[in-house]
């Protein structure tokens, strides 16, 4: 049977998400040069993970194949982005 997660967890996650949103917005006022985007994406990834793990119940899955499906999705996205960029990044080499 499915697990029922208490409302407290959801509220905590929500509070964390709101805090992270404020943080990332605040950090954008600071010029970190190249690292601005890195920090912004790290925070986004953290937020995304919270959503996926708690709101989407991935942390509590009783079917592990679903985990495989999710990992596959992100893996293929990485293939698309990285393999395409190998072309553009290495063009200047020759």
């Amino acid at each position: 049977m499915e697990k029922i997660i208490s409302g407290k967890v959801y509220f905590t996650v929500w509070a964390a998400l709101m805090c992270l949103t404020v943080t990332t917005a605040a950090v954008s006022y600071v010029d970190l040069g190249q690292f601005s985007i890195v920090v912004a994406l790290l925070i986004a990834t953290l937020k995304g993970s919270l959503v996926v793990l708690f709101f989407m119940h991935v942390k509590y899955l009783n079917v592990k194949t679903t985990l495989l499906v999710i990992v596959a999705g992100f893996f293929w996205l990485a293939i698309l982005l990285l393999m395409t960029m190998t072309d553009y990044i290495t063009r200047a080499w020759s």
Binding site: W76, I79, M83, S94
Partner: protein, 543 residues
């Protein structure tokens, strides 16, 4: 085992369970949906084939004399789009897969029967838009929609064609989604992954590609449509974009799409060869994992379509390397099929003839693929008839042969009737000969330098083109024959019985045609796939 009696006169099965248009158009029975698909894709196959014949007729002479250049460009564009998106991609998964996947795993239906029906409707809507596109003047982008030609230069129905393929793409996604969930969640007790027939493994691998690749094509075509309609700069260099990005996105789907077309065919052959060799498939695990390997590695090779397009040398090397890597699992499969025949007891039935033809033609297609994966050779032969011949060997010599093999093999299950065996063999021979006559000369044409998509060509290429055109007429006869005798057999064919081939596999353990819910009671699997050593030695029908 729940097997129905052979007296079929009164027995209720999926075909006579209900009558009338409503009962077909609103059905959620995977077997009926498979038949709906069968009719639709056959229709599109003959449309695409008609275009192909016109192309071949035009190329009989070097001058562009039969049709105008614009018409010729439309012909090959629509031939490609129809054949790829409305025949090859749905052919085995949506017809044979739909019919067989639930039966092979011992389920009553696919996981989402209504989504399955929706998928057919999307196919029909997409197909309808494609027909409308043809009737109102067609499209001349090639099947590849290369920008900026498609978004800024052509005056034809580019957006309509893109919409049609966009919709058909979702049909394909839904089929894939259904197969993945069905194979994961709906297997009968005892049907472990290691006992699954290889047809299921290859359809599973296909479904992975459909689900992960098709959405990228969808968004790419959407961006093409937006760029064309609203002049939004995405790909067009005049608006600041990069046309190679389009090619990357397009081939990210369209190369794996080649595996959508061939993997299910490999699955069909993996069923037929053990059956008519009366022995287990050689190296089951390797053939099964090779399918998954192809599905995964197939996503890492797309830029081998772009070796001369202006990509980075280093990137080209990476993609060339992966292209060779993906050839390994295909090679493994060919060797295993061949080894399966060793020390077998081989019956020359029609499906087996097609399957042996498949091995030969697929091998040639695969071997010429090795030429194209090699950076240096690709530079010379890409965009020539060498490529045309190569992919027709894979798709027509491979996939269509496998599809026909499967149609003959499971026709008794689908219809409950036998097709005429002698005619079947004759058609198989005609197709094999016609095919080679049509496409082998094209290898030489390409190697000697004839570019593809040429309406008129220089005179030295004529002899080979004439040979090819002659072959295409033979091929056309070969393709018409099965359609005629399949229809004939519906009325006059011998009753097939539950298992005319004495084949392993759950689908043969139920009646022909099967009852609506496939099995009287859910089967429990206690045996390995292809347990021919435990089955009768003779093939009842052929022997």
């Amino acid at each position: 085992m729940a097997s129905a009696s052979t007296i079929t006169a009164e027995r209720e099965h999926y075909l006579n369970a209900d009558y009338g248009f409503r009962s077909w158009l609103l059905t959620t029975d995977h077997k009926r949906i498979a038949l709906l698909y069968l009719i639709s894709i056959t229709f599109f196959f003959f449309i695409g084939g008609f275009f192909a014949l016109l192309i071949r007729l035009e190329l009989l002479t070097p001058q562009g004399d039969l049709v105008q250049a614009d018409t010729y460009n439309k012909l090959f564009s629509m031939h490609g789009q129809v054949m790829i998106f409305f025949f090859l991609i749905p052919a085995v998964p949506a017809v044979l897969g739909n019919f067989l996947v639930p039966m092979m795993i011992g389920a009553k239906d696919l996981a989402f029967p209504r989504i399955n029906l929706l998928s057919w409707y999307l196919f029909i809507v997409g197909g309808g838009v494609m027909l409308y596109t043809m009737l109102t003047g067609g499209v001349d982008t090639g099947w590849t929609f290369y920008v900026p030609l498609s978004t800024a230069y052509l005056g034809t129905h580019v957006v309509l064609a893109a919409v049609s393929i966009f919709i058909a793409g979702f049909s394909s996604i839904l089929t894939g989604l259904n197969f993945i969930v069905t194979i994961h969640r709906m297997r009968a007790p005892g049907m472990t992954w290691g006992r699954m027939p290889l047809f299921l493994w290859s359809n599973y691998a296909t479904a992975i590609i459909q689900v992960l690749g098709t959405p990228v094509l969808a968004i790419t075509l959407a961006l093409v449509g937006l760029e064309r309609m609203f002049h939004l700069g995405v790909f067009n260099p005049q608006l600041g974009g990069d046309p190679l990005l389009f090619q990357h996105l397009f081939w990210f789907y369209s190369h794996p799409a080649v595996y959508i077309m061939i993997l299910p065919g490999m699955g069909v052959v993996s069923e037929i060869i053990p059956c008519f060799s009366r022995k287990r498939v050689f190296g089951y695990e390797f053939v099964a994992l090779a399918s998954i390997g192809i599905a995964v590695l197939g996503f890492l090779v797309w830029a081998h379509h772009m070796f001369v397009a202006g990509i980075s040398l280093y990137s080209a090397m990476v993609f060339s390397f992966f292209s060779y890597l993906v050839a390994v699992p295909s090679a493994i499969k060919v060797f295993n099929w061949t080894a399966t025949m060793y020390k077998g007891k081989i019956y020359y039935s029609t499906p087996m003839l097609y399957a042996m033809g498949f091995i030969g033609l697929f091998t040639m297609g695969g071997m010429t693929g090795l030429f194209l994966a090699s950076l240096g050779v690709d530079v010379h032969v890409t965009d020539t008839y060498f490529v045309v011949a190569h992919f027709h060997y894979i798709m027509v010599g491979g996939m269509v042969m496998a599809y026909l093999a499967g149609m003959h093999f499971w026709w008794p299950k689908i219809s409950g009737r036998m097709y005429p065996e002698a005619w079947g063999k004759l058609a198989a021979m005609i197709i094999f000969i016609g095919f080679n006559l049509t496409f082998f000369p094209q290898f030489i044409l390409g190697w000697t330098g004839m570019p593809r998509r040429y309406h008129a060509y220089t005179p030295e290429f004529q002899v080979l083109n004439v040979l090819s055109t002659a072959g295409s007429t033979v091929l056309a006869v070969g393709y018409l024959l099965p359609m005629v005798y399949f229809l004939w057999s519906l009325r006059y064919g011998k009753e097939a019985g539950d298992n005319p081939w004495g084949a392993a596999g759950l689908e043969w353990k139920t009646a022909s045609p099967p009852p609506t819910y496939n099995f009287e009671e859910t089967p429990v699997v206690t045996w390995e796939a292809y347990n021919y050593d435990e089955l009768p030695e003779e093939v009842p029908v052929v022997g």
